[in-house]
């Protein structure tokens, strides 16, 4: 920090200039809660598209994020809530210059064995091919899954933005 910046900091009536402003102007946060209804998967995709609409990115990059979000939210509804439409899915998006972090949280049945669940073609008794986590892994830079059986699951998707 040079002297000029220092003086403006000291003259500032509050601490915003130094402690808040740089962080404030660069990051955007959006939270959305919705019922575990299948039509809300499209809403979740629409939200990330809308948040990223001002960013300079390729259509392919945007498609990748949309697929990953679609899979995370579908998992919450199909696996977490076992297709019960009365649950709540919470989605939080954090957008900075460098990256987008999307957190999808449900309070459903949880995952007993996360490692097994993340293997392709693990899903049984349905036709989704177990591709959900495979797509999340290939299309995002980082996928983190935290789950407590009978309590819920939180999936954190991170995508670096150029």
């Amino acid at each position: 920090m040079n002297d000029k910046e220092k003086s403006s900091l000291w003259l500032s009536p509050n601490n915003d200039i130094y402690f808040g402003k740089s962080e404030k102007s660069k990051k955007n946060f959006v939270n959305l809660s919705f019922k575990s209804r299948s039509e809300n998967v499209a809403l979740a995709r629409l939200l990330v598209s809308a948040i990223l609409s001002e960013r300079d990115m390729t259509l392919a990059e945007l498609d990748e994020i949309k697929v990953a979000v679609s899979e995370a939210v579908s998992n919450a509804i199909i696996h977490g809530y076992q297709n019960d439409s009365e649950g709540w899915v919470e989605m939080s998006v954090e957008l900075s210059e460098e990256q987008m972090v999307i957190i999808v949280h449900d309070e459903g049945i949880g995952i007993e064995n996360i490692e097994e669940a993340m293997k392709p073609h693990f899903s049984k008794g349905e036709e989704r091919m177990g591709l959900g986590f495979a797509f999340m892994n290939s299309f995002m830079d980082k996928v983190e899954v935290a789950s407590i059986p009978l309590s819920g699951t939180t999936v954190t998707l991170t995508k670096k933005l150029s």
Binding site: S38, V41, R45, T58, D63, L131, S138
Partner: protein, 117 residues
Amino acid sequence: MEIITKIKKYQNRDWLYLKPSGELDMASADQLKKTIIEGLAKSGCRMLWLDFALVSFIDSSGLGVLLGRYRELAPLGGKIIITHANAQVYRLLFASGLHRIMEIDRPASFKYVKEGM
């Protein structure tokens, strides 16, 4: 999801032709599945032609419907072809490996599609 259903002649065979429109995710997957199964049963066709010209998005729920139908049709000597997929759909057909068991035509713009992702 609106789905146009027809019977078309192609390569001297009757094909069940379906043209769905919209996004193919878990909200529309069941409807597509039901329409295909009913169409196949009613027509007796074993050949399935999916025209994805009006499908803007697909995820694993949509791909699952395709794989499920392939598993039913293949033992009967049936076949699935997919035409007019957009770049996003085309890419996921490859990423999922479905391109190995179905006939898929190239989309007009497939710049970012690389085999195997």
